[in-house]
């Protein structure tokens, strides 16, 4: 019923607009009777109203517009020539249609007994009978007579009886009646009757239903407003709110009670104004959903599916810009569910389900976000098949797959280059589907995931912010300035101090990483990213952020708080800086830049490293891909060892190396770290002394640590290790091609054993 009411309201607004246009067209048509264009336009309008009223079961309206349409079609086809009688009856028809519409608006149906459609219907039918020309006055009199009768009691009862009151509303119509009757000039009384009614009726019409309050019709209760104007309003209100904040701060220290009262009022009004203005930009998701039944119907037809579409939460509102942005992804996901989710009827029956699949769309608000769920009871997503395809397409490595749980695997469908459609259809599935959906949703600060049970169906869940203009953000401090990070990019905050700093933060060839729950997280220092120098500190504050598949830690000077910020665009002069997403104005009126996390990741080159580092803890023996620490020894020779065996990387000045017997040691963490120079251990010339500092890889054994001295660290790579016997010798397992270079793969056990021998 709700749906119906909505459709009717839309129908009314549309029809009222059309009727206004129709009035103008009809009047113009009288001036310009031959215009086919005008006639076609009028015909279309009436046709539309007729069609919709038929659909909505407004029988009287349909019948009336039907005869009108017939008359118009004759005119349009040139069978009849336009004359005054026809014009009059058409205008009367339009008036009656309008009255019926008003009745519909009041009561929800067109059965309003006050509106009489018979006379005008008869008049038009008469015109049709006589091929558009009234041959004599007589039939008109016959037709007019009931009119007069109709009108007559009105004069008597108008003030008393409610139903009659509606008739005088036809006053304009009655005046119109005058002319066709008059034209043939037959009987004066007939003419008089309606004329007499009009003045008597008019006041009655005005009092009808008027209870002292202004009642707005649907058409009058909405105004079309330019979106730019709304955006401008939003901006001005934002500014007003900031000004209010400043005034409130000032007045707190004042004693003037009047000023306090006024500022409190300002506070209230500004808040309410802000809320109302934000509401003006809100639109219900129903606007997008109204198109779904048709899409689903067509697709079901095309794909040979039987689908029952259920929709829930039409009136869930969101900002129009958000709605605009999710329209296409939503449509795509519905297509996807129909194509890949719901099975053919015969397959469903075979699987013991009903022939008709259920596709349910649900929208609701949850903790300041809009959640849209797309659920089907189809075949679900088979993790085994997804993994097979993902491996085959090279979307992930076997190694990565091994560490994924079912939900993660199912969510692989959002990775680029992924499509499990066995046959490419024109509906969905050329591998340009779900990844685009995800990136579109993420672009507006939303997220999407899927859960699925094989044989039972899948549920896609989209989370989107209510509005793009205002986002929750974390404000961090660096130097004198503040920067905002969108909450959508935020994963967690980590603070490291004291000994942990040394233990958890490693420097891999100039690239700092943080050990976080067994994973290595690349670190980016915000001060450095901004072109400055980080201040030395005894602690580290890491904001762990994520964008797409890239996750990294942003080291910041200070974390202030989370707050709602209004995103504002920045000028053309700054567009080339990918690291800023925009700017915002803080409570004190100062401008703060909003960091663009994906842009920053790209600029800092985090993306590429991330995938490799995620797998950095892989062990060497069972996987075919291995994370390797690539290093330089003996003046340009490359060697590599499994990253898993590296506990830390350290650098020491030469003078810290001391000797005990023939063994080199450094004092390290309240103990001694025995050193072994890698180059001689693997039969190469030692050049590690040429460096300014001694680079040491700390390798932890069960009972002690060993420091392996190298020239320097080159890189961390995740590489398929094809070991060749070539170059195999004591301390070297063999060689492999890593990053297009022949690299010695160090036999760590042998190297460490050497220290044991010497010691």
């Amino acid at each position: 019923m709700d749906d119906d009411a909505e459709i009717i309201a839309e129908f009314l607004v549309e029809s009222h607009e059309n009727l206004d246009q129709l009035d103008r067209d009809l009047v113009e048509l009288e001036q310009n009777p031959g215009s086919r264009e005008l006639l076609s336009s009028i015909f279309r309008t009436i046709h539309t109203i007729k069609g919709t009223s038929g659909f909505l079961a407004f029988g009287r309206l349909e019948k009336l517009t039907h005869v009108g349409e017939t008359l118009l079609s004759k005119l349009r086809d040139g069978e009849y020539a336009m004359n005054e009688a026809i014009a009059e009856s058409l205008l009367r028809m339009v008036d009656t249609v309008r009255l019926l519409l008003e009745g519909i608006e009041r009561t929800g149906n067109d059965k309003d007994p006050n509106v009489d459609v018979v006379p005008i219907q008869a008049a038009i039918e008469l015109l049709l009978e006589h091929r558009g020309v009234l041959p004599s006055a007589e039939p008109v009199v016959e037709e007019s007579a009931p009119m007069a009768e109709d009108a007559a009691p009105v004069v008597e009862h108008a003030p008393v009886e409610e139903p009659e009151a509606g008739v005088p509303e036809q006053a304009p119509r009655d005046e119109v009646v005058e002319t066709p009757v008059e034209a043939p000039v037959v009987e004066a009384p007939v003419v008089e009757a309606p004329v007499a009614v009009a003045p008597a009726g008019s006041p009655a019409a005005e009092t009808d239903g008027w209870d002292g309050t202004e009642r707005r019709s649907v058409a009058d209760s909405s105004v079309r407003v330019d979106v730019d104007l709304l955006d401008n309003l939003v901006q001005l209100v934002g500014e007003l709110v900031l000004t209010r904040n400043q005034i409130l701060q000032r007045t707190e220290s004042q004693d003037d009670p009047d000023l306090l009262r006024a500022s409190q009022r300002l506070d209230l009004v500004a808040s309410e104004l802000q809320e109302s203005v934000m509401k003006t930009r809100m639109q219900p998701i129903g606007q997008v959903w109204s198109k779904m039944p048709r899409i689903v119907r067509d697709l079901a037809h095309q794909l040979g599916r039987e689908v029952d579409l259920q929709m829930d939460g039409h009136d869930t509102e969101m900002d129009r810009s958000v709605l605009e942005a999710v329209k296409d992804p939503l449509t795509h996901m519905v297509r996807n569910s129909m194509d890949h989710g719901i099975e053919r009827p015969e397959d469903r029956v075979a699987a013991g389900k009903s022939r008709t699949g259920i596709l349910s769309l649900r929208a609701f608000h949850e903790s300041g976000q809009v959640i849209v769920e797309i659920r089907d009871d189809g075949k679900g997503i088979d993790p085994a098949r997804i993994s097979a395809v993902a491996l085959e397409r090279g979307v992930i490595t076997r190694d990565q797959l091994a560490r994924m749980d079912t939900k993660e695997i199912v969510n692989l469908i959002f990775r680029p280059g992924f499509s499990t459609a066995e046959t490419v259809t024109n509906v969905s599935g050329r591998g340009v589907g779900m990844d685009v959906v995800r990136s579109n949703i993420e672009r507006i600060g939303g997220s999407v995931d899927v859960s699925s049970e094989v044989g039972k169906g899948s549920t896609f869940r989209i989370r989107i912010p209510l509005t793009l203009a205002i986002i929750p953000a974390l404000v961090v401090g660096e130097g004198e300035e503040r920067y905002a990070i969108a909450q959508a990019n935020l994963v967690e905050l980590v603070r490291i101090e004291g000994d942990d700093l040394e233990r958890q933060v490693e420097d891999l060839g100039g690239a700092p990483v943080l050990r976080l729950r067994g994973r290595l997280l690349p670190l980016v220092n915000l001060a450095e990213a901004l072109g400055g120098r980080p201040e030395p500190s005894d602690h580290l504050t890491v904001v762990v952020v994520q964008a797409d598949d890239v996750r990294f830690g942003l080291c910041v000077n200070a974390v202030h708080d989370t707050q709602e910020i209004v995103v504002k665009p920045i000028g053309r002069q700054l567009k080339e800086l990918a690291m800023y997403a925009g700017a915002t104005i803080m409570g004190d009126g100062k401008v703060a830049l909003i960091l663009d996390i994906p842009g920053m990741a790209q600029e800092q080159g985090v993306g590429a490293v991330e995938q490799e580092l995620l797998t950095a803890r892989a062990s060497l023996d069972e996987e075919d891909r291995t994370a390797l620490l690539v290093l330089e020894v003996s003046d340009g020779r490359r060697a590599a060892l499994p990253l898993a065996s590296v506990a830390r990387l350290e650098e020491f000045p030469h003078d810290r190396i001391e000797r005990t017997g023939s063994v080199e040691v450094v004092q390290y963490r309240d103990g001694l770290l025995q050193l072994v120079r890698l180059a001689p251990a693997i039969g190469l010339l030692d050049t590690s002394d040429r460096q300014e500092q001694v680079s040491v890889i700390v390798h932890e054994l069960a009972d002690r640590s060993v420091g392996i001295v190298i020239d320097r660290v080159l890189d961390v790579v995740d590489s398929a290790l094809v070991l060749s016997e070539v170059g195999g010798r004591y301390g070297v397992k063999g060689s492999a091609v890593v990053q297009d270079h022949v690299t010695d793969i160090v036999d760590l056990e042998a190297v460490v054993a050497r220290t044991g021998v010497i010691a």
Binding site: L242, I570, Q573, L574, E576, L577
Partner: protein, 160 residues
């Protein structure tokens, strides 16, 4: 340059200001407002000419330092620049200048082309020259002045 001067001659009222001792004018039609020094938020890693962002009644405005843009010597430490807010291609940009002058009417003054000896960075954004009795007004092309990526680096580049 002759074509440029022909189109410029239409504007007669100029908002004037000084930058490094030079007397400039921008057609009043392009100027939204003139403000004294405003607090600015610096934008790290931005072009040198971008001094920062200004909150102009809720709108975020980029401030372009005309001294940097025009290749003139930097402002003395402690001297606070003023803002000439101009509209350029749908955006509002602030030009940072040393001092603000009057709005002057140039009706009756001659329009002369830019002297060929003017440094390229300056000549690039000066549309024409209008000699007055006590000074010479350099008419600035606001669109070019805010387009910091079009800076002519090599001398003698003239118009690009």
């Amino acid at each position: 340059m002759s074509t440029a001067t022909a189109t410029v001659a239409v504007a007669e009222q100029y908002c004037t200001f000084w930058v490094a001792g030079q007397f400039f004018g921008v057609s009043v039609n392009e100027v939204q407002e003139v403000l004294r020094h405003q607090p600015m938020t610096p934008v790290p890693r931005a072009h040198d000419a971008v001094r920062g962002l200004i909150n102009l009644r809720g709108q975020i405005v980029t401030a372009v330092d005309l001294r940097v843009r025009l290749g003139l010597p930097p402002r003395a430490e402690g001297d606070l620049p003023m803002n000439v807010i101009v509209r350029s291609r749908g955006e509002v940009v602030s030009l940072l200048v040393d001092d603000i002058g009057d709005v002057i009417n140039t009706a009756g003054l001659s329009v002369e082309s830019v002297p060929s000896t003017m440094p390229a960075k300056l000549a690039d954004v000066v549309q024409c020259v209008r000699p007055m009795s006590d000074a010479v007004l350099l008419v600035l092309d606001a669109d070019r002045a805010v387009d910091i990526f079009a800076v002519v680096e090599s001398p003698g580049g003239g118009t690009s």
